[in-house]
Symmetry: D2
Subunit: 258 residues, 4 copies
């Protein structure tokens, strides 16, 4: 196919030396086909390093780590390192910073909607950093049960997006749930970038649900947590298990006597 | 409390210079309390590096990456770098290798069962590597729908384990589902470890569900995928959306005419 | 306890002749304890008929069925038998009509939040009728995937309500999803009530997503459904299963040859 | 089409007087198309009573109720009214008994896999009775959390079956979960059938998890439930809500002062 295109002056990015396809948007570049078809092929090997456009290799990243600060307002990143930004500026800034540190390379065997597995290699530098920081912001400000509920629906949401059902009623329904959970996801996250990796370096929020005085059971003026409460909590959460153990043990005893 | 313990010769690991608690088992060490109570405190900062026991800092990891090969049989890792191992040997080996490369440090604000948020720092070197490789093995050998179903239940499974419901009937029920999905998770995964990061360097399996000939739509002797099929597939998957768009557009037109 | 209360002039509804407890609100009456403690006891037996307040026994209901018409606007019932009503009037009207026909008696062994099973008998005449009609209205106007998504979350929603978490963030999140799914649940449902049973007698809606011309594959001027599309739809939905069957069959053949 | 078939001696069950299609198996008959295409058409009206084959109309059912007893062993019905039966005998017996009492007629607008809504009328007498009794058996013997988990997956299981994915890996995975939950679903259920309705008349089991002594908080020799435990249970389950209320109230106060 590459030879045919060359012969007929059809301009394609794939070439005999870079024999794969490439799709690019603000969020990522995906690479597929060609040498990547073999899932045993090491896409991150030094010999394949020319494929990547948005990220350097972790090995080629700076030897000094960098800390980036993201500010969130109701779930959205609205400032980076103190500078307020619109969403486009956020993505461009995070792509540049994360790409410089080799962050966001992914190699996966994925499941296409049409029913086949496919091997894809991705660069998503800014998206990886944004997702990481957003999760940290949620961990401080989002209620446990709301988070577990939302998390159980992530595979479903991801499948909707991947399969192209953005404008489908089930996506709107799920979006309404997600947005309700983001109302208090407000605050600041610091992230350290180093050689392809992301490490949280701190998070804070005026709406933080984390109260060290409660968590450490030290002198808490609000006395929100009383250790004695744990007794009843444990007893009642275990009650159904104790009853079942009793019933099933009795049953087995009766069997043996026969 | 630390002073009281010192005065009464009570031996505790927490000290004025390492003012946090520590819990250790085969899978991980967790650190909590003390200086870690402030979620803005940078647990991975150089000044805190003496806290960690199982991993070096990514900055202190070797400058050369290392590739480790894990073999899986029905979901379980049974060999590392060609050497057959029992589960205990697997965990010890992976802890050592991953720890040497600074892999598996996590800093999180978590949600305790008793209802409070809590900040914990973890070292889970071997577990992080095992989980990463296992996911890669699954991506090649596990059916899409089985995987999505299982994935939607992971938050529930994790909550059971975290909250101590290992011996509860809901855990046994979910375990039965999980085990059924692992029957064909067999094969080999190569992972590159570098400065705290994990990168897949290849996966293969005698039970691979990935067929490059189908995925690339090139000459496939089995002719499993016919591009013409996409037409009907798209039409019927879109049918409910088209009908709804038609109905709701008609409705809005009628409204406007009034 | 009953004797003690009598002796001290404490007025309680439980008595030696009606030895159970009773809780009543607009939606239902629940009966528990006393003779009901034995789950083998037949709560609907003629001998126990004096217990019920909101419903007659199905056997005592009129010999002629009655048809009730409910109108829905965005998920809410706003009129009964042509008369516009506020929610309170709806509940009172439906309680009266359904109660007269013996609709809404339920006897169940339920699971209390504190960990024990408990036997409860309920009368919920209006709620049973409203729920039945609402489901019918949804079946005509709600998208399939939105409905399946919502349905998968019903046990979770019910547990929140049953356990008293109405004002919890996870309930608000789920409510947002539910409300998004109700936007087009508008139209009219006829229900036949007869001797304790409910039978739909018709549903219609200006926003109906049901198009008989498409469903019967007869002459459809919009040509929304082309039977030829089924070929590609079936092929691609079966593709992952065919690939897996091929792989696993080959594997088994290889095994046998050895 | 009917005229064409008559002219060419093609024997079809649809006729000008019964203009609908019919599919029958051991579990049910489904009716579709023809006069049923109009979802406002009353399929259960006296004028349409000749359509049905497996059930009489509730109005035509006996004036005296009948009680049927089903015995379950690990989730399966193994005896009816004291007579041991294989699954085929169970279905035939329950079809006959339930059909005689007008049980199991359903009229629904359903969602076909190919993307359209469709109106179907069903007779499922034995299946309706079996499902009702099985649920009652579960309520006495199945753990709460296992039941809630299983229930949340029912829409998914139903979609698999409806869409024809019985032999798909996701169905096997879910089946494994379901079977694990049925291990203790053993015992006896009595059901009253009357004029189209089903009413439980008692359930009992050697593996019952319901213990009246615990539920009523009366003298329980095992002292499984201590009312004082409720205090801690309530406190800790409410802790996350209290902390959030405190944080969000403080925030609003601060806002107002500005």
């Amino acid at each position: 196919m590459i030879a045919y295109c060359a012969r007929h002056n059809i301009n394609v990015q794939a070439s005999a030396s870079k024999p794969y396809s490439m799709d690019r948007n603000l969020l990522h570049i995906s690479y597929e086909a060609g040498v990547l078809e073999d899932p045993w092929f090491d896409a991150f090997a030094p010999g394949n390093k020319d494929m990547f456009r948005l990220t350097c290799a972790p090995e080629a990243a700076p030897d000094r780590s960098q800390i980036v600060t993201l500010e969130f307002l109701r779930g959205d990143c609205v400032a980076v390192d103190g500078r307020p930004m619109n969403p486009l500026q956020v993505m461009r800034t995070l792509n540049r910073v994360a790409g410089r540190h080799g962050v966001g390379r992914v190699d996966m065997v994925e499941n296409r909607y049409v029913g086949m597995k496919s091997r894809g290699v991705y660069e998503t530098p800014g998206g990886t950093l944004l997702h990481f920081a957003h999760r940290q912001m949620e961990s401080l400000t989002m209620d446990r049960e709301a988070m577990h509920l939302r998390d159980s629906l992530i595979p479903r949401y991801a499948a909707m997006v991947y399969n192209g059902f953005w404008f489908a009623p089930e996506r709107y329904a799920l979006q309404a749930l997600v947005e309700e959970t983001q109302k208090n996801v407000t605050g600041t996250v610091r992230v350290r970038l180093y050689k392809g990796g992301l490490y949280v370096a701190g998070r804070k929020s005026p709406l933080s649900l984390y109260n060290p005085q409660i968590a450490t059971m030290d002198a808490d003026p609000t006395q929100a947590y009383n250790q004695d409460d744990a007794t009843g909590f444990i007893h009642l959460n275990a009650l159904r298990l104790k009853v079942a153990a009793h019933v099933h043990t009795q049953k087995n005893k009766t069997k043996k006597q026969k």
